[in-house]
């Protein structure tokens, strides 16, 4: 048992480190080092522009989409090399945020279901950051129940005509292409009538509208489709096989081993270590200490759980299911930590001033943003179902709509 690289890993790390040291945009290091939740912002420049420049440089140096095959713009690296790269890329990894959905979800789906011509045409441009991709799955009526989606695609000659609405699409406003799942047959049960496409986001009839979120920010979009034409050649997988195709996409979403989820603990520990209350430092208060200790062991438990997964990768094994706990633990931890940090400040805890005295307003922002961490990418409840069913082998939910044609499923709870 050790934390050391193998000789090959050490060599790879040294090469990566040397390249990053020579090429990274160091002028942003300090700004990127500041911890922040959600979308990253830069003071003076658009994160997408800076990100594109970094991605392009990486692609030229052979460091983009590392685990992809070389012919599609990757490096053909092993999973452990990808983890090592992420560790070395460090804060500059935050610049890759606009490309993560493309690299982690859209790209692998095109790779699995696209034609060779498509792969050679689209993937290298995705890898180099020239094109940004988004994922158009969620709908107002299909969140956790994503197969309940209603966006229609109807065949007309060699084309499909799409009408409907998607929601919670991150990056839709700056994306060039989108991975779109649609309903092509409402007369069969819901999982069987879906078909996957990709489309040019500049297509006529695509309208992107930002969503004003509960935390006051605008980070996601609604995307409306009005008679949008998609050529049949941009279909991924067979007609009616969209659900299976989407499973490939979502499987890749969960492969993000080694990327640390924010828990809020380091910020909270520092805050309590310095906060003077009427009874002395907050960290000297027994109730606070108990809470801190509980959060500390969750944070360290998550850290070492990811180390166990990395170790599996290092041995060339598939990581076990234990990594599935990450978001479930960290999401509610952020919310609990934010709530308690504000509680420690008394009535002033409600103030959102960004000065030092108010801990730069970070906990208030954390409080308002944290509900999304328990919903996006699988709600806490869906994640518990996944653990119960796929890890513990418990029966799936009884699905009352399983054998019902989609257009016969009730759409309203009351009345």
């Amino acid at each position: 048992m050790n934390f050391d690289d193998t000789p090959q890993e050490a060599e790879f790390r040294a090469t990566a480190r040397k390249w990053i040291d020579a090429n990274a945009p160091k002028q942003y290091e300090a700004e990127l080092s500041k911890s922040s939740l959600g979308r990253i912002r830069l003071e003076k420049e658009d994160i997408v522009d800076v990100g594109k420049a970094w991605q392009k440089k990486k692609a030229e140096g052979g460091w983009a989409c590392l685990h992809w095959p070389k012919e599609y713009g990757g490096r053909g690296a092993s999973p452990i090399e990808k983890v090592i790269w992420q560790q070395e890329e460090g804060v500059y990894g935050k610049l890759t945020q606009p490309f993560q959905i493309g690299e982690g979800m859209c790209g692998p789906t095109v790779m699995a279901f696209g034609s060779e011509e498509h792969k050679r045409h689209y993937l290298p441009k995705l890898a180099s950051g020239e094109h940004i991709w988004c994922q158009l799955f969620s709908e107002p009526a299909g969140g956790s129940d994503v197969a309940g989606l209603r966006t229609r695609a109807e065949k007309q000659g060699d084309n499909w005509i799409v009408n409907g609405q998607k929601i919670w699409t991150s990056g839709a406003h700056y994306s060039d292409y989108g991975l779109l799942i649609t309903r092509t047959d409402p007369n069969v049960p819901k999982h069987k009538g879906l078909t996957m496409f990709f489309l040019d986001m500049k297509s006529k009839g695509v309208e992107v509208r930002p969503i004003k979120q509960a935390n006051g920010m605008q980070e996601f979009n609604e995307v409306y489709f009005t008679d949008v034409v998609i050529p049949d050649s941009q279909r991924l997988g067979a007609v009616g096989d969209g659900w299976n195709v989407s499973l490939t996409t979502l499987m890749n979403e969960r492969m993000s081993i080694g990327s640390r989820l924010a828990t809020g603990f380091p910020e909270m520990f520092e805050f309590c270590s310095n906060l003077m209350t009427d009874d002395g430092l907050a960290i000297d208060d027994p109730a606070t200490r108990s809470k801190l200790a509980n959060w500390a062991v969750k944070a360290s438990g998550l850290k070492y759980t990811s180390y166990r997964a990395i170790s599996s990768l290092s041995k060339g094994e598939r990581p076990g299911p234990e990594n599935s706990i990450g978001k479930l633990v960290s999401g509610s931890m952020l919310q609990d930590i934010a709530t308690y940090a504000m509680d420690l400040q008394g009535a002033a805890g409600a103030l959102t001033g960004a000065d030092e005295e108010m801990a730069r307003g970070q906990f208030q922002q954390m409080l308002l943003s944290s509900p999304s961490m328990r919903i996006a990418g699988g709600t806490d409840e869906i994640l518990r179902n996944i653990i119960a069913e796929r890890v513990l082998g418990l029966p799936g939910d009884i699905r009352v709509d399983k054998d019902v044609p989609f257009n016969k499923i009730p759409t309203k709870g009351r009345g």
Partner: protein, 375 residues
């Protein structure tokens, strides 16, 4: 990175699991639970023959000389089987104290006997209510004898020898405390069994009356040695707790799959599924914290105090959580004496206290993290 046990260590875990499944079925645990024997003597003998009691004891002292990672995997299996033997007191506390602070002669006298199963050892630390603290130690040492009362002492009624924490000064500093080694069969010590929530691991009151004692480690070093012993024992016991957590989770999962209510397996109800998923989460967090503790223990890393406290807290929480919700999944059947759920519930809650309570370790963790941050 190789943050995992080696194939050999995993084989040893499998061997221990197989051995315990055969020699320590719930029926055997119940013999002790029902008060028919103070501990499972046959099992103890078998563990010695398998080399498990001396796995971390060097060969020159009669052990297998394997190491602490090997001991961790065995501890996990002891917890999984809820083994009714004085393993934690003898191996995690007494043997570790001897390894840390014993003279060659002391090691030579006791370690081979521990490895062979001939001697049961323990640590006599507590004197009534409260957590580990130098101030709480009143038992007096003078002129090579001890006078005072220790309670609760784990496995105190069946132990052959004890490491005893005694007061040798009154300056108010940690250096007032020294450790002693006492042969409990040599007279001067009266052992009275105490009833406790987990009869499969006995507790006793030991009364020392001019009991002969030899110093263990240098005079005044007692508290510093004890702190190290408790940290090491915390990691090892945490592995037992993780083994117990996993077993409780499995029992709950199996029952949820088999039990039909309202016309379907209860494991298909989300209320039950989510409870089991949460048990899996705590058990996984605990296991990962324990692995870090194992690494720190086996390499004697500077991180050990912090790692041990984290493993202890996480594993205590996981075992309490899994064992209590295992009963909940079982419903009424889980509250019968006949079902095994309560054995794990008892062990979980007794283990949660035996090296000092959860709140004590929470306090320790924060102190240690601050110390590290200040350094």
């Amino acid at each position: 990175m190789n943050f995992d046990f080696s194939d050999e260590q995993k084989q040893m875990r499998d061997a221990a699991r197989k051995f315990l499944a055969e020699k320590c079925p719930p029926k055997a645990v119940r013999e002790v639970l029902d008060g028919k024997a103070p501990y499972d003597k046959e099992l103890w003998k078998g563990l010695a023959e398998m080399g498990f009691l001396g796995v971390a004891i060097p060969e020159e002292f009669g052990g297998a000389g394997a190491g602490h990672l090997e001991l961790c995997v065995i501890a996990e299996e002891m917890g999984r089987a809820n083994a009714p033997v004085p393993f934690s007191s003898t191996v995690y506390l007494a043997a570790e104290a001897l390894l840390l602070a014993g003279s060659d002669a002391q090691k030579q006298k006791w370690l081979p006997k521990i490895a062979s199963g001939e001697a049961i050892g323990t640590l006599a630390l507590f004197e009534g209510k409260g957590n580990p603290s130098p101030k709480a130690i009143k038992l007096q040492a003078s002129g090579g004898t001890l006078n005072g009362v220790k309670r609760p002492v784990p496995d105190g009624a069946i132990a052959d020898f004890a490491v005893v924490a005694a007061r040798t000064g009154s300056t108010g500093r940690d250096s007032d405390i020294s450790l002693f080694l006492v042969d409990l069969k040599a007279g001067g010590v009266e052992a009275k069994p105490l009833t406790n929530i987990d009869p499969t691991r006995g507790q006793a009151e030991l009364t020392f009356t001019k009991a002969k004692a030899e110093p263990l480690g240098a005079a005044g070093d007692g508290w510093s040695i004890l702190t190290q012993v408790l940290d090491r024992a915390a990691v090892l016991l945490a592995f037992e707790q993780v083994g117990g957590s996993d077993r409780a989770l499995e029992m709950g999962r199996d029952y949820a799959l088999d039990r039909i209510a309202f016309g379907r397996p209860i494991g298909s109800f989300q209320a039950v599924k989510h409870m089991l998923a949460d048990m899996y989460v705590s058990a996984t967090l605990a296991r990962s914290n324990c692995y870090y503790g194992a690494w720190a223990l086996s390499t004697n890393a500077a991180e050990l105090p912090e790692a041990a406290a984290a493993a202890r807290i996480s594993a205590t929480q996981a075992f309490q959580h899994c064992s209590k919700n295992n009963i909940q999944v079982h419903g009424g059947m889980g509250f019968t004496w006949e079902f095994d759920c309560h054995m794990y519930y008892r062990r979980a809650n007794a283990s949660a206290l035996t090296l000092g309570s959860l709140s004590y370790w929470e306090d320790q963790l924060i102190d240690r993290m601050r110390k590290k941050n200040a350094a």
